[in-house]
């Protein structure tokens, strides 16, 4: 049986499908029985999703200036 600390350490592997089938099953069993870890895992998933969208908005800082510098260097 896995304990909470182990599940908390493995949560990203579980989320990314990076754990072995056997480990996957053990994590799933633990999550079925442990509401704290279920909450932890749910919050991890939400965090990932929210961070992904918040950070996907590309920035506009100084792009034109950078582009000019790149073009000038490329000419040399």
């Amino acid at each position: 049986m896995l304990n909470c600390k182990q599940v908390a350490s493995l949560a990203s592997d579980y989320l990314d499908n990076n754990s072995t089938t056997k480990l996957n099953w053990k994590i799933r069993m633990h999550l079925m029985m442990c509401s704290h870890c279920r909450r932890f895992y749910r919050q991890l998933k939400v965090t990932n999703k929210v961070a992904r969208s918040a950070l996907s908005e590309p920035s506009n800082d100084n792009i034109d200036e950078l582009l000019q510098r790149i073009k000038e260097s490329a000419k040399k």
């Binding site: 949560a11 909450r39 965090t47 929210v50 918040a54 950070l55």
Partner: protein, 205 residues
């Protein structure tokens, strides 16, 4: 103007379109800087990225499409940064793999001896991504937290979650093992999660 698919973007780049090049910069510049910093350190990162862009600009016609365009970009950055690091013969800055951050979720202090939570994981006011994303301040906090992450954690997070680069490719770009990539990604997520938890409790990050 937005080039939606990659082949249109590449075609425009080869024709020398400024708009296409600006789009490419806008999309990938932050990840490229972060990647360069992870490999060669702060001092050279901007130089490395500029050199990479010049190389992309000059060689785009030779891009053969054997990998995706962004993978090609990141490999150029990784190569220039690695060469630069060797030339400067500095120790790699990839030294952020040791130890747990004190106070993080995985801190032993949060667990009983048998490995169960000492205190239950805090409930959130909302676990709805849409509700969370509706808060501008939280979005700013996420950006701030990302910028404060140790360099390699940030790079791994950007490559995996924003650029959607495959795990194997991330290992090669940073020249670290798959196990390390996974640990760094997990730590980055946990830092962000902790900030969201704090934000839910206090309204600030």
């Amino acid at each position: 103007m937005q080039f939606k698919d990659e082949s249109a973007l590449i075609k425009a780049l080869i024709q020398g379109s400024d708009a296409a090049f600006a789009q490419l910069i806008r999309q990938h510049q932050s990840t490229m800087v972060s990647l360069a910093r992870s490999i060669a350190g702060d001092t050279f990162a901007d130089d490395i990225v500029q050199e990479a862009w010049v190389s992309v600009y000059s060689n785009i016609a030779k891009f053969e499409g054997r990998s995706s365009l962004k993978t090609w970009l990141f490999r150029i950055v990784s190569n220039i940064a690695t060469t630069r690091l060797r030339k400067e013969s500095r120790k790699t800055s990839l030294d952020q793999l040791d130890g747990e951050t004190p106070g993080s979720y995985l801190d032993s202090a949060n667990f009983r001896e048998d490995g169960h939570w000492k205190n239950p994981v805090a409930t959130w006011r909302t676990e709805s991504p849409d509700e969370l994303l509706a808060e501008q301040q939280l979005k700013e906090c996420i950006k701030k937290t990302l910028n404060r992450l140790p360099e390699t954690q940030r790079t791994v997070f950007l490559l995996k979650e924003i650029e959607q680069v495959a795990f194997e490719e991330i290992c090669e770009l940073l020249n670290i093992s798959a196990a390390n990539v996974r640990v760094l990604l997990h730590r980055a997520r946990l830092q962000l999660m902790q900030m969201i938890s704090r934000y839910q409790e206090t309204g600030s990050c």
